[in-house]
Amino acid sequence: MARQGSRGGAESKKMSSELFTLTYGALVTQLCKDYENDEDVNKQLDKMGYNIGVRLIEDFLARSNVGRCHDFRETADVIAKVAFKMYLGITPSITNWSPAGDEFSLILENNPLVDFVELPDNHSSLIYSNLLCGVLRGALEMVQMAVDVKFVQDTLKGDGVTEIRMKFIRRIEDNLPAGEE
């Protein structure tokens, strides 16, 4: 929840976590009112997250000074230890690597987005924090990585922890003009 006011400085401004949580809550509940079913809300959250992600990555790269990642494990480390820390003030742990090393889980012990939240029964299929998936997908797409991000566990649905599963799909090559290989 740290937000830097002026670019370039090392100091980061703090923002009230309640304000942040309530703002996100207001956003999600408004979407729930605007859309008929939860799937549409999930889709919309993902889309909004994507739009945040493609912009946020520029901010992230400018401020964090991380270099190019050489493999997906390094990317995972940067996401968990630098990006989450910088924007949400938490450090998720990385587990459950697939044998091929192209898929891992981020375990969030406490998710700042869901403080106070209790899902009502009529929104059982709502993925409340789906915005995060969109952010990760959008940000990584900008650095030539196509990934699939989804929630597999959620404390709001009674699970002990929140788990985000990330799967590497492919590298996005620089677009060649159609017809040329």
Partner: protein, 139 residues
């Protein structure tokens, strides 16, 4: 510990009421309802200036033969009423006070849930569990 806990909205309609044993529910509803007059009396007895700096905890509202009724009013005029068994003499004023504080904190969390519309009945599971725990603690 407590036999009945109620949350009353600013406009004096119940947001939440839970009692144990459940078969006597109606009686407790009456008790709580009656206590609201005492709450109003206590608040209006104080001067305008005093209301602003009063304590949230109102203390014992009135004792009946079997029960004691305590009250607590937040600055937003939401009332908490707690009915306690008279036979339970071990319960100190301080403990009642801390129970109300706990109730207040829990109520704040409910209000902060974005899916809760202020003024609706409270259906939160977390709040319900907290109230239940306060009712069974020393029985």
């Amino acid at each position: 510990m407590a036999v009945c806990i109620a949350v009353i909205a600013k406009e004096n309609y119940p947001l939440y009421i839970k009692s144990t044993p459940t078969e006597n529910e109606l009686k407790f509803h009456y008790t709580v309802h009656t206590s609201l007059d005492v709450v109003d009396e206590k608040i209006s007895a104080m001067g305008k200036a005093l209301v602003d700096q009063r304590e949230l905890y109102l203390g014992l509202l009135y004792p009946t033969e079997d029960y004691k009724v305590y009250g607590y009013v937040t600055n937003s005029k939401v009332k908490f009423v707690m009915v306690v068994d008279s036979s339970n003499t071990a319960l100190r004023d301080n403990e009642i006070r801390s129970m109300f504080r706990k109730l207040h904190n829990s109520y704040t969390d409910v209000i902060c849930n974005p899916f809760y519309n202020p003024g609706d009945q409270i259906q939160s599971r977390a709040f319900d569990n907290m109230v239940t725990s306060m009712m069974v603690q020393v029985c």
